[in-house]
């Protein structure tokens, strides 16, 4: 997918001689070059046109750093790179420019080749960035479309097989097969849902909302949601946490991450096993360690745990099925919160998953 659109470039300088000179020098590039000689003119243009690159003179009647900030606040040019133009001896503005996240600086007097090369390369990067974003977006859309469209048939399969199961006697020879259909359908629906939230949460790379959350509260909530399946396997859970520690992030995302790790622990712990959740607050992060005395993992399994390519799906101790997406998803969710996951495990002894999340300073 190539963008054949002619790149648009904006040159801003209060001296028209300068904008004209640069326009002339850039002529061989065959860009669409627009000129502005005031802040107002610049912002008007930025409201209407999406540029691939802006060249902005650092000494203008209106503070150029504010102009730069306003360019980046315009809807169409939030991602547009800005290159400042400054005189070689203007040390104050040069260092200031880099603080304002400018892409690059062209120092006057410059060489024509230098100008051409910098403009070309930054325009190219910007175009590639846009293409990349477009590709990712398209892929995400396809991803969620597929997942959405597949969801309905599986819901139907589950519903219908539930109905049949209700009517069938235990002695019926079909009962076992219908149960299988029902089980596989449920499992596949789970996979689809995980894929869906994966594409929603991860690829946008955004946390929908960020709140201050009491660590103790959210962990207890997660324990509550899985207590049933723990009880079924007669697994005991112990939990300790300082009452005041706060973490920050999206409540639902963090909850699902912790829940994911807990159901994993249950899945790989034998009947009558034990799970311990211990928390430790260090200077700036909270460690939540979820340890079980279950079946543990060998080194190969640990190494492939977070690998999308060599995704491993392991059956639980009671035959619980998995999708192999759960941990990958959890890790991504935690990374979104500037957190980390650490794994320690020994085959036949158990596993410890440690979540490290930044602590929210309480005021």
């Amino acid at each position: 997918m190539k963008d054949f659109r002619q790149p648009k470039l904006l040159i801003v300088d209060d001296k028209q001689e300068n904008t004209e000179l640069i326009t002339k020098l850039l002529h061989p590039l065959d860009f669409e070059v627009l000129q502005a000689t005031s802040c107002k003119q610049t912002l008007d243009l930025c409201e209407q046109i999406e540029f691939e690159l802006v060249l902005l003179d650092v000494r203008m009647p209106v503070n150029s750093f504010e102009t730069c900030h306003k360019i980046k606040s315009s809807k169409k040019n939030q991602e547009t790179p800005v290159i400042f133009l400054a005189e070689k001896t203007d040390f104050e503005n040069i260092s200031e420019a880099f603080k304002h996240s400018c892409r690059d600086i062209i120092l006057k007097p410059f060489q024509a080749e230098e100008l051409l090369s910098k403009v070309t390369i930054h325009t190219l990067i910007q175009q590639q960035q846009k293409q990349l974003n477009q590709l990712i977006e398209t892929r995400n859309q396809i991803y969620s479309l597929i997942a959405h469209d597949l969801r309905n048939p599986f819901n139907a399969l589950i519903g219908l097989s539930d109905l049949i199961l209700k009517d069938l006697n235990d002695s019926d020879p079909h009962k076992q097969n219908v149960k299988l259909i029902n089980g596989i359908s449920n499992q596949t629906l789970n996979l689809l849902d995980e894929l869906l939230s994966y594409s929603r949460n991860i690829q946008t790379g955004q946390i929908a909302s960020s709140q201050k959350i009491l660590a103790k509260q959210i962990i207890e909530e997660a324990i509550n949601t899985i207590s049933c399946s723990a009880a079924l396997k007669k697994i005991t859970i112990t939990f300790s946490c300082e009452p005041e520690v706060k973490i920050s992030g999206d409540r639902n995302i963090l909850l699902s991450a912790i829940r994911n790790l807990l159901s994993n622990a249950i899945k790989f712990t034998r009947i009558n096993g034990h799970i311990a959740i211990d928390t430790k607050a260090t200077n700036d992060c909270l460690e939540i360690a979820i340890s079980d005395n279950g079946i543990g993992m060998d080194e190969t399994t640990i190494n492939n745990l977070f690998n999308l390519k060599n995704r491993v799906s392991l059956k639980g101790t009671a035959g619980e099925a998995g999708t192999g997406f759960g941990l990958i998803l959890t890790k991504e969710l935690i990374n979104l919160h500037q957190g980390e996951i650490e794994v320690n495990s020994k085959l036949n002894e158990g596993s410890t998953f440690t979540l490290k999340l930044p602590i929210q300073e309480s005021n």
Partner: protein
């Protein structure tokens, strides 16, 4: 300014009016004037455009050097018009850039350079001299004089 190789008469000469009385600044100004002369000398000796461009870089670099030097001195003596004067220097670098790319021939660039030098020196740099005199500033206390034997 149509100097020929042997025409010493037409060289740009130092003028009393350029003198700021600040030894080091005057010295640097003289070097600058001589750089313009050496550029004209090269034009008249029909140096290749590529070599003349390198001489332009030489002048640009010296202009940068001298401006920083002069600005550092102005800062030392708390020169009240520092910002305006520094802005003038920025503008010159900006114009040097414009003329370098715009000039139809190198002679035009040299004429611009000379004109700017005279204007800036007799109008702006001379104001530093006035400020020093009016405030009885002992320059030697603030500005190290380059100790260059002739």
């Amino acid at each position: 300014m149509t100097t020929t190789t042997n025409d010493n008469e037409k060289r740009l000469k130092w003028h009393k009016a350029y003198e700021t009385g600040i030894e080091r600044i005057d010295f640097e100004h003289k070097v600058f004037l001589e750089l313009i002369n050496s550029f004209c000398y090269a034009i008249n000796n029909q140096l290749a455009a590529k070599d003349l461009s390198r001489l332009i870089s030489e002048i640009e670099k010296y202009a940068e050097f001298h401006f920083i030097s002069e600005e550092n001195f102005m800062r030392r003596i708390n020169y009240p018009d520092y910002n305006k004067h520094q802005k003038d220097h920025f503008e010159l670098l900006e114009y040097l850039n414009l003329y370098k790319h715009k000039a139809e021939d190198f002679g035009q660039y040299a004429r611009f350079l000379h004109q700017w030098f005279v204007n800036h020196t007799i109008h702006e740099d001379i104001k530093i001299k006035t400020f020093i005199q009016e405030n009885n500033i002992d320059v030697d206390q603030y500005y190290y004089n380059l100790n260059i034997s002739k």
